[in-house]
Amino acid sequence: MSSLPEKDRPIVQLLLKAGTCPRCILRFCCVGSQVLYRHPHKDLMKDLQEFLKNSQEKEDTACLDVADPPCKRIRLEHREEGADDLNHNGAILQLPSAGDGNAARESSAGNVCNVCLGVLQEFCEADFVKKVCQKVNSADYQFTSFVFSVSLPPQLSVRERAAWLGVKQQMRNLGLPLPKDDIVQLKEAYKWIIHPQLSEELGVPADGKSLFEVSVVFAHPETDEECHFLATACPDCFKPAKNKQSVFTRMAVIKALEKIKEEDFLKHFPCPPSSPKNLCDALEIQCNNGAVFVAGRYNKYSRNLPQTPWIIDGERKLESSVEELISEHLMAEFKADSFNFSSSGREDVDVRTLGNGRPFAMELVNPRRIHFTAEEMRRLQQAINDSSDKIQVRDLQLVTREAIGRMKEGEEEKTKTYSALIWTDKAIQREDIAFLDDIKELKLDQKTPLRVLHRRPLAVRCRLIHTMKCEYIDEHHFRLRLKTQAGTYIKEFVHGDFGRTKPNIGSLLNRTADILELDVESVDVDWPPTLAE
């Protein structure tokens, strides 16, 4: 049962007559009890009508209670009705005609609310809840909670303001104190009503922090142009945005409503607002799961495999890629819309990645499945490894978004070790290369290699070769193992890149040197955590 205080009577009277639904009326009366809003629409309507009727009856019996403090007597003024009646307290009592009560009842039965355009009416009913849940269930997502987000057409803010101004105006006309400004927000009331229903149908709780989002977009084309007057009143709030279709975005409208003066608003818009013909449309019901992140380390055993797809002018230059070989299985298992692959540095097509492999992370966007046990991840890892001998993955695991930062740190800060097969033009003997082993912390100046100049800025980078160890093979070949700072171009260190990397193996040995093979022996990043086999 509603327990509205007397002071709310004029508000209820005005809004009910104007065609406002019971729940919006409760909002304007600042009723904070969530439970009340969940009562069926019909009951609430009956309640309000009772509330008004009771006051009428009270007036009819003309209970002139001297003990009542003056504030309890409400001066009701109807412009259409006639004479004032003075009771002996001096308060003016006006009997609202019976006709008014009936008119209010008729105008609000079956009408689309002039404030919420039906959001707190039809769209709180079991039918709509069922529709939403059907969509969610058919989309086949895995989730343990949900967040329900609602997009309302901007003109709702305009109508809300108009209703409120109408109420304020009425209170002023009746000589009554202005009511409190803390109206219950429409979205909040809507969630009070619909969350429990959705929660029950879906079997999971509503949680503001949930990664699983069910979103509904409401539109009301019939009243779309109602925002336009704001553009003439506050032109600087509406700047044409490049990609947006309409300049009347929710944000822009709210900003304009904050700026516009009450008098100007009243001039341009009926307060309270008029009743619309149609309900809102629920345009789209969409589901979206927050991204999950899978990390691991990969080995690359092929000298003919790019890390990411190599496509020039729409033509694929090399078959497959590390990224695709890994993502294929993950996408299938997680049933995601798309992925973003990133790793702690990269290697060239013709370079192998040995040792513990290179850390990588795969972001899976809008995955349908999100829960995987450690055992399932192991099996997924095995499936990837069985499917290709060009790559192998290890330590495959789910990680948080924040953990990706650790991987990117590795790219810039951590050392790498390599093994290079080097050719020289002039003959070498063991003694000629032995001195390389003793060089520590060799400083290089590397200009941006010519082979990447078309996509990297021209710069000089200082890099350190921490240690070197060579293995003599024959008069024109030796193997060099080196440990270097992150970001060092190894190939250029060997052949000198037209003298643009100094010093280089050629200059150190006083010969022309070239690199025949390169392997990454280790990427010294201790992330992601090593998993027990």
């Binding site: 990411t308 078309h454 996509r455």
Partner: protein, 151 residues
């Protein structure tokens, strides 16, 4: 001149048959100052690149060269002066400052450390430019013909 090209980048070097590479020539001076207002040394190249898989690379301020734009003037000790031209259209990325400090490099390693300049043609033009160049074989045929007609 010879143009070595990969990934659209072109390196301008002296051709084998260039007089400067014939025996007996000593280089006296290499000058990148082309005119009063133009020095190839003052070529400012700034680039922006996004640290992601898609690179957005803009060259701002780099001098744009046409085929006949002079890159440098080289004078030899016997009084001859040679102008080296770009031979291709594109943005000048860098000139080789190593040959300024060590002119012998130009003659000892003309096609590697003694290169003259690096030029990046416009994306749309790069294919037509490389196709318009002579291959090694074609170049040698031209030289043969030249020598043949001379004698």
């Amino acid at each position: 001149c010879i143009v070595l090209s990969f990934c659209r980048i072109c390196v301008i070097t002296l051709a084998e048959a260039h007089p400067l590479l014939q025996s007996g020539k000593t280089i006296k001076n290499i000058n990148y100052q082309i005119s009063a207002n133009c020095s190839r040394l003052q070529n400012k190249v700034s680039g922006k690149s996004k640290r992601t898989c898609l690179f957005v690379f803009q060259i701002q301020g780099a001098q744009f060269l046409t085929e006949l734009a002079p890159l440098c003037r080289i004078s030899s000790s016997d009084g001859e002066e040679y102008t080296i031209y770009s031979c291709i259209r594109g943005r000048l990325i860098e000139v080789n400052e190593n040959i300024l400090s060590n002119p012998a490099l130009l003659q000892e390693k003309p096609s590697t450390e003694g290169y003259i300049a690096v030029v990046l043609p416009k994306f749309e033009e790069s294919k037509s430019i490389t196709q318009g160049l002579l291959t090694q074989k074609e170049y040698e045929e031209v030289l043969l013909k030249r020598r043949g007609s001379a004698s």
